[in-house]
């Protein structure tokens, strides 16, 4: 609560809405969104796609990570109104029909989660991270900026550090991703 609210703002907050077409996990959703609405809130409160999680709503935890055109983004920091005609993938869209994504299988095998709340973000982040590495993007721990980065444990830890896990499943997350990456 803000004690110094500017009183001239009373009534000035009439919502502004925009019509757009969202593409999520290859489904099309024609939708009218409030321009203040984040992708995270649109997914969770409007489309009943609750896989993406809200851990902080401020871009500080990674629980809300989804893929936009194949790149990982924090959906709590992304306004839905900017996503007309972009391809959004959430954790619900990672599996191929009934066949889980290899990362999903590896996470179960390695017990790479406990409460599971950070898990959708970890998974989407890992998918995006593997694509970044495959495209040759270096990280701060990459020894050779020119060659393709080798995803050893240090690289995985570094590249996955935007996704907090309070249950402390990091050791198993790194093992699970490593198995898929190598």
């Amino acid at each position: 609560m803000n004690g110094e609210a500017d009183t001239t703002r009373w009534g000035a907050s009439t919502p502004v809405t925009v019509d757009l077409r969202l593409s999520v996990n290859r489904d099309e959703y024609p939708i009218t969104v409030d321009t203040r609405e984040t992708l995270l809130d649109t997914l969770r409160e409007r489309l009943d796609l609750t896989g993406a999680k809200k851990g902080c709503d401020h871009g500080q935890c990674g629980a809300c990570t989804v893929l936009v055109d194949g790149r990982r983004v924090k959906s709590c920091l992304t306004l839905t109104v900017t996503l007309d005609d972009r391809e959004i993938t959430t954790v619900e869209g990672l599996a191929d029909g009934d066949t889980p994504h290899p990362l999903q299988t590896a996470f179960v095998d390695h017990d790479a989660f406990q409460c599971g709340y950070c898990t959708p973000g970890q998974l989407c982040s890992a998918v995006g991270m593997l694509a970044e590495a495959a495209a040759g993007w270096p990280s701060v721990v990459t020894p050779d900026m020119n060659g393709a980065p080798r995803l050893d444990d240090d690289e995985i830890r570094e590249r996955m550090s935007g996704n907090l896990c309070r249950c402390g499943a990091y050791v198993n997350i790194v093992a699970a991703i490593g198995e898929v990456a190598r």
């Binding site: 609560m1 803000n2 004690g3 609210a5 009183t7 009373w10 009534g11 009439t14 919502p15 409030d34 203040r36 809130d41 969770r44 409160e45 009943d48 796609l49 609750t50 896989g51 993406a52 999680k53 809200k54 851990g55 902080c56 709503d57 401020h58 500080q60 935890c61 954790v91 619900e92 990672l94 599996a95 889980p100 999903q104 996470f107 179960v108 095998d109 017990d111 989660f113 406990q114 409460c115 599971g116 709340y117 959708p120 995985i156 830890r157 570094e158 550090s161 935007g162 996704n163 907090l164 896990c165 309070r166 249950c167 402390g168 499943a169 990091y170 050791v171 198993n172 997350i173 790194v174």
Partner: protein, 696 residues
């Protein structure tokens, strides 16, 4: 129908809800959206102490989408109001900054958030006092410390023993306020249907939330249903209902519609509990051979003005080591601060940081290896009560840990090992956690298709409870796990104790075993004749637990850390961390290892990063988000391993298990601080181990 099946307990079964969690199908509290719902956004106090004179409700109601703005002046009265933490909107008094003093309900989350940010509140602010000091004039001795231990215990004459001791360690340690920060923020969806209330809520025990909320609203517990199938972590902070649960129910009642309320990450630092900061003085007296002659451990800690929460910080010191003279005390001061609560291994975690750091200092003072020092002070029976230990394998953990870690031949000299830019050192500390068990009920049902359903209002907050209860039930039913379905996380199921105090598996497992046994007997009696509707049996363990023999029941562990401290920046990295635990029979080695490693990971975080900073001027925890309150990230965690020694303890429960949810965090910070001393020669007695404390 049942054939002999290999024992499921002891196997590393994958989490039974694993696929639900990796596909996003598992739903957490806020992800339930009843029809016709509205959104509630709380309003927080911006003074740390004072009284609310007025709230401009009319102005708020003009904001788009707003349905109601509720505060003390127009809130429904609760049936029971003890003036405590849960007496939400029942008084104009403000007890701490960030306290919930109102709530705005609107059609959308955005409307509610926007309007809540514009609420104008008139306060009469008063001078506040938010600083814990060991010489605070308001310090007092609480009646008991959590849950029901005496505040002070004295044996022998510790002052005389200290005066006579040839070797004395006398040091003050401190731990900061720390916030649990489960990844899923607390959330409640409240829906009234006549006199009935349904809550989708994130908690560590649906039965307890039901009972608390029913009492507050003056209803029989049967009128309240709490549904919590998946919970995104708790670490103690969801063990007791916090004000938001009451606020959601009040708001839903007022507007006559279902209401969703999520505590924001920032709000969590004020309204969902935290570990009290502690100041601890430890004095150890020993003979030349390192045998303790006196232990004095005094703790100073805080609570709020609305609730006495007395952390049991020095309680583990009462049973940890042998000594003829001992004093352990607690002093509390009630400040204008948010109410502290449980955080993973409350009491043991801060208390053992101090005791195990002091033991390291004593080892150095005696010229003894710290592993050997601990072995020399092993008690034969519980030093406080004289009771036998049901099992105590601390020495085995120390020896096995030392062997695996490569401890032998360690040069004790501090500050002499350089590896590149790093000063390297190793440290050890002991861990312990008590073994509790509480009464619970359970039901077991043989279904007509040959499957079994087991029902209990247990909670799986990431512990693997659903999985281990499935294994326990399968063995008790002599059935394969894939024929057993365990239903938990709903207060409509048989009443169960909390997921807390590391007692979930012991408490619920006992009830599940007894219910399954009763079912098999019933099936026997029927001679295999199963009616179309199936057969059900139940159990209640109240009598069994009341009648259990008295023992000192505790789990133990030994933690070994290797750290590297950057010689220029003072940045500390934990290079290796090994925990060896003695915790009875391990029900599921896969989930158990995750629990123990998870606790140790939180211990790394506590040792190096976690610190809630009190803003004296405004009475607020200043760094109240995850950008400023640092918890360990992936790159902070390298080589962490948890192992256990075989422990066969017949005095525990049908599974022979001890709790493992908390012990992992207990000795970690001391092991790391001791390793930092070994690496650098600098003794850090106040957590966390920040760079500025190492760069001189």
């Amino acid at each position: 129908m049942t054939t002999t099946t290999p024992s499921s307990v002891g196997s590393g079964l994958d989490r039974v809800e694993g696929l639900d969690k990796v596909t996003g199908r598992a739903r957490y509290a806020f992800e339930y959206s009843p029809r016709d719902l509205a959104y509630a956004v709380p309003v927080q106090a911006v003074v740390a102490r004072g009284e609310i004179h007025a709230v401009d409700v009319d102005a708020v109601l003009k904001c788009p989408g707003v349905i109601a703005a509720i505060w003390y002046g127009n809130a429904p009265r609760l049936a029971s109001d003890d003036g405590g933490e849960l007496a939400v909107l029942q008084s104009p008094r403000v007890a701490y900054r960030g306290q919930y003093i109102g709530v705005v309900v609107a059609e959308t989350l955005h409307d509610a958030r926007e309007a809540a940010g514009l609420v104008r509140v008139e306060y009469a602010a008063e001078r506040h006092d938010v600083e814990l000091r060991a010489d605070h004039p308001g310090l007092y001795r609480p009646e008991v410390v959590n849950p029901d231990f005496p505040a002070d215990v004295e044996q022998g004459d510790p002052d005389a023993a200290l005066a006579a001791a040839p070797i004395v360690v006398d040091a003050v340690y401190s731990t900061p306020a720390e916030h649990n920060n489960p990844m899923e923020p607390h959330a409640t969806v409240a829906a009234w249907d006549g006199d009935g209330l349904t809550l989708h809520d994130s908690n560590q025990g649906a039965s307890a939330v039901r009972d608390t909320v029913a009492a507050l609203f003056g209803m029989p517990p049967a009128n309240v249903r709490v549904i919590s199938p998946h919970v995104g972590g708790g670490f103690g902070s969801k063990g007791l209902p916090h004000p938001h649960v009451v606020l959601a129910a009040l708001a839903a009642k007022q507007v006559g519609r279902p209401v969703k309320l999520a505590v924001t990450r920032q709000q969590m630092f004020a309204v969902t509990g935290y570990r009290t900061p502690t100041i601890q003085r430890v004095r150890l007296g020993a003979d030349a051979g390192g045998r303790l002659t006196a232990i004095v451990h005094e703790a100073f800690e805080q609570s709020s003005t609305v609730k006495e929460f007395a952390e049991q910080t020095t309680v583990p010191t009462r049973m940890m080591y042998a000594a003829p003279a001992r004093r352990t005390t607690h002093r509390l001061v009630r400040l204008d601060v948010p109410t502290p609560s449980w955080m993973r291994a409350p009491g043991e975690t801060p208390g053992m940081f101090a005791l195990e750091s002091a033991m390291d200092e004593l080892a150095i003072a005696c010229g003894l290896d710290p592993v050997e020092l601990r072995i020399r002070n092993e008690p034969e029976t519980d030093p406080e009560s004289g009771l036998p230990f049901s099992s105590r394998n601390l020495v085995a953990c120390l020896r096995e840990g030392a062997r695996r870690f490569g401890w032998a031949g360690r040069d004790p000299a501090p500050g002499v090992r350089r590896r590149g830019r790093l000063l390297v050192g190793t440290g050890v500390a002991a861990s312990t956690y008590p073994v509790y068990r509480r009464p619970s009920q359970a039901g077991a049902r043989a279904e007509p298709d040959g499957r079994f359903t087991v029902r209990i209002a247990a909670a799986d907050i990431g512990t693997g409870a659903r999985t281990v209860l499935t294994q326990i039930a399968a063995d008790a039913l002599r059935a394969p796990v894939d024929r057993v379905r365990v239903e938990i996380g709903d207060s409509a199921l048989p009443t169960a104790s909390l997921a807390g105090g590391s007692m979930g598996t012991a408490s619920w497992g006992t009830a599940v075993v007894r219910a399954c046994e009763a079912l098999l007997e019933e099936l026997d009696r029927r001679g295999g004749d199963l009616p179309v509707g199936g057969v059900e049996a139940g159990a209640d363990t109240t009598e069994e637990i009341r009648g259990q023999r008295r023992f000192a029941r505790h789990a133990f562990g030994a933690q070994f850390a290797e750290v590297g401290v950057d010689v220029d920046t003072g940045e500390t990295r934990v290079l290796r961390l090994l925990g060896v635990f003695a915790a009875g029979r391990i029900v599921n080695p896969k989930t158990a290892r995750s629990q123990l490693v998870g606790g140790m990971t939180m211990g790394v975080s506590m040792a190096l990063l976690e610190e809630s900073v009190m803003d004296r001027e405004f009475g607020d925890y200043l760094n109240h988000d995850l950008a400023q309150y640092h918890v360990a990230a992936c790159a902070d965690v390298r080589d962490i391993e948890a192992l256990w020694v075989e422990e066969d303890d017949p005095h525990l429960n049908p599974m022979g298990s001890k709790g493992i949810g908390e012990i992992g965090i207990v000795g970690t910070a001391a092991a790391i601080a001791n390793a930092v001393h070994h690496a650098t020669g600098v003794r850090i007695r106040d957590l966390p181990i920040r760079l500025d404390k190492l760069v001189r």
